[in-house]
């Protein structure tokens, strides 16, 4: 397996983690979070800033996860009264505020140029074996996130979230504390996304505000939708499909003889068409959510 394939697989696994995080909020809980890329960014910047200050990767990941979870909880609490579409735009706006702050507070974040991470995940390894180790770590993290998200979805928490998604009024009448549910879903999702962000920063050794554009969030949404909204395995599948398209577009550009500045347009076009096709013909995605039916007539 070439180094390039290993690189693709590592990025896909990191996308998978982020995709699971959004699926927990949007798929299971029905919360239209359009600012997920900001939580990825919190994890990434926490990693880069702590690494620059001389702390280890473990400390960086912990800081990122805790800060993101706290930010997610606050946003979930602030947005408790909002309808889906208002909530979507509000989170999009918050993510953009975060990005503007990152660009302007250059003393801590390196400004628009971004910030590097001097800490490597496996400094004792070199070349191919380092890539393999990072891949193993990323896949392991993805599987852990998958297991955590799966367990949460199957337990009482998941049942409450699905009820909140389908019948919010009924959920309140059962005495569920829906604000607490939303806050928890946001905090857990944010923490998982931050883990993805931290891994990405340590692996690439760099993060910049250019990585946190709203398009990033739209991309995560595409992964969740085409994979199968509400299904965590689907979210992972979607992440791998989108990563495959991104790499495929690079080759397609060469085959078609496009100038390299059009590669971005080409892959955005493919992603857009794929997303629209799925929404119009198969809105439940490639691997639909499995809902248990109890005493159902049909």
């Amino acid at each position: 397996m070439s180094d390039f394939l290993l690189h693709i697989a590592i990025i896909a696994a990191i996308y998978g983690i982020v995709s699971i995080s959004l699926n927990l909020q949007a798929g299971v809980s029905g919360m239209m979070n359009f600012g997920q890329i900001a939580f990825f960014g919190i994890g990434g910047y926490a990693a880069a800033i702590t690494a620059s200050a001389g702390y280890s990767a473990l400390a960086g990941v912990l800081v990122g996860v805790v800060v993101a979870a706290a930010a997610g909880a606050v946003i979930g609490r602030l947005g408790r009264n909002l309808d889906a579409e208002y909530w979507a735009i509000a989170t999009l706006g918050i993510a953009e505020i975060f990005r503007i702050v990152l660009i302007n507070e250059g003393w801590a974040t390196g400004g628009a140029g971004g910030i590097g991470s001097p800490v490597q995940l496996f400094p004792m390894l070199e070349g191919r074996s380092q890539l393999l180790a990072v891949l193993a770590l990323a896949v392991a993290c993805m599987l852990v996130c998958l297991a955590v998200a799966g367990r949460l979805t199957e337990r009482q928490f998941g049942r409450m979230m699905r009820l909140l998604r389908e019948q919010p009024d009924l959920s309140v009448s059962f005495g569920h504390d829906i604000v607490a549910c939303k806050v928890r879903a946001m905090a857990i999702g944010a923490a998982i996304a931050a883990l993805g962000g931290a891994l990405s920063t340590y692996y690439i050794a760099y993060i910049s505000p250019g990585d946190l554009l709203p398009f990033g969030t739209f991309l995560i949404w595409t992964m969740v939708i085409i994979g199968g909204i509400g299904n965590h395995w689907g979210a992972v599948l979607g992440a791998f499909v989108v990563q495959f398209i991104f790499v495929g577009a690079l080759f397609l550009k060469d085959v078609l003889g496009f100038p390299s500045e059009l590669a971005g347009a080409l892959r955005m076009m493919i992603v857009g068409i794929l997303l629209l096709t799925f929404l119009m013909t198969r809105p439940e995605g490639a691997i639909p959510e499995r809902l248990r039916k109890i005493n159902a007539q049909d």
Binding site: I89, A90, I97, I100, V101, W221, M269, G272
Partner: protein, 297 residues
């Protein structure tokens, strides 16, 4: 002081027509169409294309509004109307997909360079201490004219009454014999046309590139939501308020507050101020300032 008002007005002029279109269309279709700001890019580039053929400027604006309006109606019928049968949320994500397709298509066709109309360089006027160019005055005047014409249509004609009826109570409106499909088409057309006029005016006043739609997305949605999605009057006030806040934050001297002579918020924080206005408004008015459940039409 005068310069500050002029700057705010110019910023409001940039956003006004696109926001008005977005909010009015939302009242009909009940999902936020995130492709709406891409219609501004389409309009701007169609206008630029036509002016390349040597057409007079006013004709470019009219034709690009016409073309974009038709595109908007076609997209609604082909994509959004079908997606809406699933749910408004699906339609909203679908509009995102449409926005990505439009943006990448424009990037592929028009390239990544900024484009502008070839106009003679005009002399800035001094007006009560503020500087404004003739082009800017014309752009503001055209924007104001379109807004007033739309308000007259909405509040003084039978068609406008039907629109307000469909917006308030779609089922009841249909039961009263209003052809709601036709009204939705007309509003969809106007929404696309307004966005196109707004985009073309942006290209006339400054310059545009393929990312215009993405740059407009958040300010326009922030303004529409602050005013209350679905309320045309709210959209107008939302835009004015947003422009005022964005300009105010970067022009105020916060120095005296912290005991220093000068302390200005960096210019780049202007947009952030607008989004903060959005978040703060939603905390106190979850559906915007001008939202009301139902009213007499």
């Amino acid at each position: 002081m005068m310069q500050f008002l002029v700057d705010s007005l110019l910023r409001a002029g940039d956003l006004m027509l696109v926001t008005l279109g977005l909010s009015t269309v939302y009242a009909m279709v009940r999902f936020p169409n995130m492709a709406q700001t891409e219609y501004a890019t389409i309009g701007a580039f169609v206008g630029l294309l036509l002016s390349g053929f040597g057409m007079p400027l006013w004709l470019c604006v009219v034709l690009s509004a016409l073309v974009t309006g038709i595109v908007a109606v076609a997209l609604h019928r082909f994509a959004f109307a079908r997606l809406l049968r699933s749910s408004p949320v699906i339609a909203m994500i679908g509009s995102l997909a449409v926005a990505m397709i439009i943006r990448s298509a424009i990037q592929a066709v028009a390239g990544t360079r900024s484009e502008r109309f070839k106009l003679p360089i005009d002399v800035p006027h001094q007006f009560m201490g503020a500087v404004i160019t003739t082009t800017q005055i014309v752009v503001l005047a055209v924007t104001a004219l379109v807004v007033v014409a739309f308000l007259l249509l909405l509040f003084r004609t039978n068609l406008g009454r039907s629109m307000r009826a469909v917006a308030a109570q779609p089922d009841l409106a249909r039961a009263c014999g209003i052809s709601s499909g036709r009204v939705v088409d007309i509003i969809g057309f106007l929404g696309g046309a307004f966005a196109a006029i707004g985009g073309t005016l942006l290209a006339i006043g400054s310059q545009v590139h393929f990312n215009l739609g993405q740059d407009l997305l958040l300010p326009v949605f922030a303004a529409a939501i602050v005013g209350g999605l679905g309320s045309p009057i709210g959209a107008i006030f939302g835009v004015l308020l947003l422009a005022l806040v964005e300009t105010l934050v970067t022009n105020l001297n916060f120095g005296p507050l912290v005991g220093e002579t000068f302390l200005y918020v960096p210019l780049a924080y202007g947009p952030a101020a607008g989004f903060c206005l959005l978040v703060v408004t939603l905390m106190f008015r979850p559906r915007g300032l001008f939202h009301s459940e139902s009213k007499r039409v």
